[in-house]
């Protein structure tokens, strides 16, 4: 990775200081066009027991960009996200995050195995928010947030605790620091989970249907936190069924169908000029239905 990109990452993610990444403006975004992408996925294929889930998918995400992955169930969007985190091993193809190849690779016909330590190092820079929250039930909200900094970054408790409390406050749960996950609502658990990821100061946040397991009235509070994060310039790859949110927050929407990317672009452009029937069916189901009945 070039020094320019490193500088950019530092600027946007501020791994050294305790401040939040500064907000980005449209001008900043234009500057990013020249920077090497934070995520590069090339010719990615993944099949489960011979059943293809991803079929030759390529995608790049620039630092500071918010990309929403949409598509019906089984279209491969979650698999793609999980491949970026290497929670799924790709069948073939390549994933590069922040300039580092993720997973085993073959060079000159020889397999180079990625070590546990290297993978952990890469994942330290990637935050992931799961559909089912996956908070650690034996730890309080605050302990959930501090576990990574304490054990992975080997920070001292009194170093990390103020930051962890600040994060809890940021997601609106300062009063729940001592609560165990089972005593929190789904929305509260998911907000703690987001704070837990942020505690590692990730360069990149992955959201895997973060609101799909929530009762409808709890969705908004989680989206609000995600919206805030986006406004602060966090690079985000978001798998979601919340179309209004995707249109509103994403710089780019990527439409997936049957394991391939069938359409992508800025939300407004996509709605105005969809190149694939799925695009409109997902984003404007009513209009798509009207079009179908008219033709």
């Amino acid at each position: 990775m070039g020094t320019h990109a490193k500088g950019l990452l530092k600027r946007f993610c501020g791994r050294k200081d305790l401040n939040w990444p500064p907000g980005m403006t449209a001008n900043d975004l234009q500057g990013l066009a020249n920077a090497p992408p934070l995520i590069t996925v090339s010719n990615l294929c993944k099949s489960f027991g011979g059943q293809p889930a991803l079929d030759n998918v390529s995608l790049t995400v620039a630092a500071g960009e918010r990309v929403a992955l949409i598509g019906s169930s089984g279209s491969g969007k979650t698999t793609l996200l999980r491949c970026v985190a290497h929670l799924e091993k790709p069948t073939s193809g390549e994933v590069i995050v922040a300039g580092r190849h993720v997973g085993d690779r073959i060079v000159d016909g020889r397999k180079i195995v990625m070590l546990d330590r290297q993978l952990a190092e890469i994942r330290t820079g990637i935050g992931m928010v799961f559909q089912r929250f996956n908070l650690f039930p034996h730890l309080t909200a605050l302990e959930n947030i501090m576990l990574g900094p304490l054990k992975v970054l080997r920070m001292k408790r009194d170093e990390i605790e103020p930051f962890a409390l600040e994060l809890l406050k940021k997601v609106g749960l300062a009063h729940k620091a001592g609560a165990y996950p089972e005593h929190l609502s789904g929305g509260q658990q998911q907000r703690v989970a987001i704070a837990r990821s942020l505690a590692m100061r990730p360069k990149l946040m992955l959201f895997d249907e973060a609101t799909s397991a929530l009762d409808p009235e709890l969705v908004a509070e989680v989206l609000e936190v995600m919206r805030q994060l986006a406004a602060e310039g966090m690079t985000m790859l978001i798998v979601t069924h919340e179309m209004a949110f995707a249109e509103d927050v994403a710089d780019r929407i990527v439409v997936m169908d049957h394991g391939t990317i069938v359409d992508q672009g800025r939300p407004a452009d996509l709605i105005a000029n969809p190149r694939h029937p799925r695009t409109l069916a997902l984003l404007r189901p009513k209009r798509a239905a009207n079009l179908r009945s008219a033709s």
Binding site: A120, T124, M128, N134, F136, T140, G148, V152, Y180, E182
Partner: protein
């Protein structure tokens, strides 16, 4: 009868002490040995998996008495001679490790895979995931079956009498050959085992209810 009981009691209590000692030591050995076996069975390394699997199947398929005889009567042929009580601890420990490793394995597998994934995504390495996230949760799952194993082990220590370890059953056999009152003596022995097992069972129930009821509502920060 009361008089007789008084005569037997010192020797029976001697037996109780040895039985408890045998139980505690072989339980500790089994509980410690079982963890690497369970982890090997869950390892990504096929060789480790196979070895651990072989151990578990081999030991489980063999009466613990066979293992005890092998160690006590067989090992001297290789120049290793052990006291009966040590042979019993090792035999019951090795035997128990096979069972306890299965308990551990089930406990680890009972933890939702999302826990592992979440831990990996905050940058934890395998060892850390296991130590800070999986095992603390698996402990709760494992406690009840582990308690049941301990009770079974308490009773199984009686096989050690067959290699003349001085535990309760051996003392009872001694007494019967002296007093010719097997009915009374073995009833007394049975009651003694019961008196050891019952508190153990209620301890298991207590721990189960403590952990089953969930965590304290909130922890002061």
């Amino acid at each position: 009868m009361i008089q007789l009981l008084g005569d037997w009691l010192p020797q029976l209590l001697q037996g109780v002490l040895w039985t408890l000692r045998l139980m505690v030591l072989s339980f500790a050995l089994a509980a410690v040995l079982a963890l690497p076996i369970a982890l090997a069975r869950l390892s990504a390394n096929g060789m480790l998996r196979l070895l651990a699997h072989l151990y578990v199947e081999l030991v489980r398929g063999m009466p613990s008495l066979t293992l005890l005889f092998l160690i006590y009567f067989g090992l001297p042929n290789l120049g290793i001679t052990l006291r009966a009580i040590d042979a019993a601890v090792i035999g019951l420990g090795l035997n128990g490790a096979a069972y306890v490793s299965e308990i551990y394995r089930a406990g680890i597998l009972a933890i939702d895979s999302g826990q592992r994934e979440a831990a990996q995504m905050i940058g934890m390495r395998h060892r850390q995931v296991l130590r800070f996230v999986i095992l603390p949760q698996a402990v709760r799952v494992v406690l009840a079956p582990l308690g049941n194993f301990a009770i079974a082990l308490l009773k199984d220590t009686s096989v050690a009498s067959l290699i003349s370890a001085p535990e309760m059953m051996l003392q009872a056999r001694d007494l019967t050959s002296e007093y010719f009152m097997p009915l009374q003596i073995y009833v007394a022995v049975g009651v003694m085992y019961l008196l050891m097992a019952l508190p153990l069972a209620s301890l298991v129930r207590f721990m189960e209810s403590r952990l089953g009821a969930g965590l304290p509502k909130e922890k002061a920060v």
